[in-house]
């Protein structure tokens, strides 16, 4: 063994840990698959929703209705923002898997021991993972939204719907989609670190982000029990997706930024708990 070729490398730092996590993330096929799938899902749903919008708008019944009552077309569900952002609710599941896997696959493979042997400051590893995931999620959601807009523009313009980028609410909903997915990936990283098992983490996240809101949605629409409504509006995804929604806030839901703050709060709590547990637990 030659001890000459390498100069003594300097100390471990955050920048280097970040670089290591970046290499780790992108040297796995699963990352390429999940990122690709997220973009495809966002664009696919936008395309589908645009097609439905055009069909509906062109149907004689609707046109007649709109002629009678001009408010219908303004208030309609088919505004361009809704079409472009519609994919988030499925994309969030893939993003959640990406976030959870970033840490659970280290535990399942034993890689985590090599990681912590190289970087004993475990919080630094968690922070680097978070940074890498946030950058990746911002990039993929911006690309997803841009592509969704590009492919749906021709379809929507045929029925006179277009994205108004000068509108504050539109911009908030578009930016909100990026923020929402970032919060989801952060929450997923926290849950993954706490649970350490891929299956358990993904089950928990799907239940939290997808199944619970569905169940409560049904409960809220069929009853008016107060505590059910309260729980419903504070569920992570129900609260968070308010920042993507446009139009007036229904009285049983939170306002957009308060809603997002609630989701972000869950993510912060999960990450802080993860950091505390990470320091104490054996690797």
């Amino acid at each position: 063994m030659t001890a000459t070729a390498t100069a003594r490398p300097a100390r471990v730092g955050f920048g280097r840990t970040l670089r290591s996590e970046w290499i780790k993330l992108w040297s796995l096929r699963s990352t390429w698959w999940t990122v690709g799938a997220t973009v495809v899902i966002m664009v696919g749903f936008a395309l589908m929703f645009a097609a439905i919008a055009r069909l509906t708008m062109q149907s004689p019944d609707i046109q007649q209705e709109m002629a009678q009552d001009p408010s219908v077309q303004v208030e309609g569900m088919f505004d361009a923002v809704a079409v472009v952002t519609i994919g988030y609710s499925f994309a969030q599941l893939v993003v959640a898997v990406l976030g959870a896997l970033a840490v659970t696959n280290e535990y399942s493979s034993g890689m985590v021991r090599a990681t912590f042997a190289a970087v004993p400051q475990r919080i630094q590893v968690l922070t680097a993972k978070l940074a890498v995931l946030v950058v990746t999620t911002v990039a993929l959601s911006v690309v997803g939204l841009a592509l969704s807009w590009l492919v749906t523009m021709p379809i929507l313009s045929s029925v006179d719907i277009s994205l108004d980028l000068s509108d504050g609410e539109t911009l908030r909903a578009l930016g909100g989609t990026v923020l929402y997915l970032v919060a989801v990936v952060a929450l997923a990283l926290g849950v993954g670190t706490l649970l350490r098992h891929t299956a358990g983490a993904i089950f928990t996240l799907v239940a939290l982000l997808f199944v619970l809101p569905m169940v409560f949605n049904i409960l809220v629409s069929t009853s008016d029990i107060e505590w059910v409504r309260t729980i419903n509006k504070f569920l992570p995804s129900t609260a968070g997706e308010r920042v993507i929604a446009t139009g007036t806030t229904p009285d049983h839901l939170l306002t957009p930024w308060v809603g997002f703050a609630v989701l972000a709060g869950y993510a912060v709590v999960a990450l802080v708990a993860a950091a505390v547990v990470l320091r104490r637990r054996d690797a």
Binding site: M1, T2, A3, A5, T6, R8, P9, A10, R11, V12, R16, T17, R19, S20, E21, I23, K24, S27, L28, R29, S30, N105, E106, S109, G110, M111, V112, R113, A114, T115, F116, A117, A118, V119, P120, Q121, R280, D282, A283
Partner: protein
């Protein structure tokens, strides 16, 4: 240099490592020997700062592992199970770890070459044989050109050529003045590779000595005596200060296998195991006691025997559990 002081690790009511103190010195290969479940891996994980000791402390080159500014340049470790994501290539695995210390890709190429991984470095680790995985683990350990190496069962799964390679590598690294701490559950492996041995059983240090000294002290010399006058000889031997062990079942079988002689069945010969007297002394004693000897063989217990004897009470998992272990569950 690795120094452990009263290192203890408990999992609930179970004590995996029980107040262990030892020093692993640079310049020699130190073997860490013990049966499976004796606490070897737990001790090594505590050295690496992966597991938190319940009590006590351990330092590497004078510092707790977590305080090292560039741990990979101080300590390189091959950890028990494969610590590699199966979906990543060997090359990317090494690059990712190298990146944490700013170690250049040229060094990654170097360790890949050194460990003979070059032909498979770009392949995903999931398809590696046990031996290839072990080589990748060693490549990982060497990445930072560390002063201290911790190798947990490094020859596991290696072919004979690989075993020889690890042995020579460990000796070579030690000869460069590095600290090499190598665990094994095989006494013979440690005897061939290590200069110093620390034996652990049930979480306690059973021996901590140079290998040659350990072998001398642990391997008892005894003399096997086969005689029809066992009772008389035994008495005489014990009077002379020797200790006599009861015959073992397979020796009985030996005696029976001799069969009856030409002049009818001879008196039944019994086997005695004598320690404390050498063969000439026993022969003379037999003559003065008027006892016929059928066999007088000096026996030297093997290293493996010595180790088995030392760890006999410290084996965690037996093939056939004794009664009290059964009830203890």
């Amino acid at each position: 240099m690795i120094e452990a002081h009263d290192l203890t690790k408990r999992y609930g009511s179970k004590t995996a490592v029980d107040g262990v103190s030892f020093t692993v010195r640079p310049g020699v290969v130190t073997g860490f020997l013990g049966p499976n479940g004796a606490g070897k891996s737990t001790t090594m994980r505590m050295i690496m700062g992966l597991d938190r000791p319940t009590a006590g402390s351990v330092t590497v080159n004078g510092h707790p592992y977590a305080r090292l500014h560039a741990p990979l340049t101080e300590v390189g470790a091959l950890l028990e199970a494969r610590a590699v994501h199966p979906g990543r290539s060997a090359y990317q695995h090494l690059r990712a770890l190298a990146a944490t210390h700013g170690i250049p890709d040229s060094r990654v190429d170097e360790v890949v070459e050194l460990t003979g991984l070059a032909p498979v470095a770009r392949k995903r680790v999931g398809g590696f044989s046990l031996g290839m995985g072990q080589r990748l683990g060693i490549a990982t350990a060497l990445l930072g050109d560390p002063r201290t190496l911790i190798l947990d069962e490094p020859v596991n799964g290696l072919d004979p050529e690989g075993v020889l390679w690890v042995r020579n590598l460990a000796k070579h690294l030690a000869s460069e003045g590095r600290t090499v701490f190598l665990s094994s559950h095989l006494m013979s492996e440690v005897a061939l590779t290590a200069d110093h041995v620390i034996v652990i059983g049930r979480g306690r240090i059973l021996a901590d000595a140079p290998v040659s000294e350990f072998v001398d002290s642990a391997s008892r010399r005894s003399v096997r005596v086969r005689t029809p006058g066992a009772a008389t000889l035994r008495e005489a031997l014990e009077r002379a200060g020797a200790s006599v062990a009861v015959p073992r079942p397979d020796d009985e079988a030996d005696a029976l296998a001799q069969g009856p002689g030409r002049h009818g069945a001879p008196p039944r010969a019994e086997v005695l195991e004598v320690t404390g007297l050498d063969a000439p002394a026993i022969g003379e004693l037999a003559l003065t006691s008027g006892v016929v000897l059928h066999e007088l063989t000096p026996v030297r217990s093997t290293l493996e025997d010595a180790y088995m004897e030392l760890t006999a009470d410290a084996v965690e998992y037996r093939t056939s559990p004794t009664e009290d272990q059964e009830t203890a569950r």
